[in-house]
Amino acid sequence: MNILFFGNLVDITQKAQEALSGTTNTQTLQALLCKKYPALQSVKYFIAVNGKMIQENTPLKEDDTVALMPPFSGG
């Protein structure tokens, strides 16, 4: 699946996107990402799956796009 990073998360991951496979839900994906980028644990972010915000653990398919987004600061 395709993972997108935005805002200050890019400072942590040093990339705007990354392809990952093998995770079946957002919880395991988060655990995997936190292992890879420990600094993610100390920042606040929301998750969107295919452009829709999610609040709870959500199943993932291989062709999903998951976005990790810090609080918005437009305008």
Binding site: L4, F6, G7, N8, G51, F72, S73, G74, G75
Partner: protein, 147 residues
């Protein structure tokens, strides 16, 4: 005048006073309008402990932002009696003193225009996936926060 298609709201760099003037002029033919409410967001040269802000660099999750904007627009047209609504938001670098957000709401009467414009600006600030990175005079950067 309800628009059902998803419109692009993003412009590259700052929004010029000329573009704003032209946008106002384009409404001269819509003679049922009695009130325009306009909000302009300007980049502020904030003095932070880390340094003075000289510009903000904006990024977005465009697909999601446009879809979100479409929903906000539809909801406001439902709630208020509006004639038209235009939103322009900058992407990329906008220097301090220049305009990064132009919100333009028109209605037959002022109350709907003003209320919808205020609500729209708040929705843009808190519901659109857009991020601002403040670039300081000393070239350090600070991620902007909306309050």
């Amino acid at each position: 005048m309800k628009a059902n298609t998803i419109k692009d709201i993003f412009v590259d760099g700052s929004i010029t006073p000329q573009e704003i003037a032209e946008s106002i002029a384009q409404h001269a033919t819509k003679k049922n309008i009695g009130a325009h409410s306009i909000f302009l967001g300007q980049v502020r040269a904030d003095e932070k402990t880390e340094g003075v802000v000289q510009a903000i660099e904006y990024t977005t999750y465009k697909d999601m932002a446009l879809e979100q904007m479409h929903m906000i627009r539809e909801a406001l047209f439902e709630k208020y009696e509006l004639t038209c609504m235009h939103v322009y938001h900058s992407l990329g670098i906008v220097p301090a003193g220049e305009i990064s957000l132009f919100v333009f709401v028109s209605a037959v009467h002022r109350k709907a225009a003003i209320a919808a414009c205020t609500e729209l600006v708040e929705a843009i600030k808190f519901q659109l996936p857009v991020w601002g990175k403040e670039i300081l005079v000393n070239q350090n950067t600070v991620w902007k926060e909306n309050h």
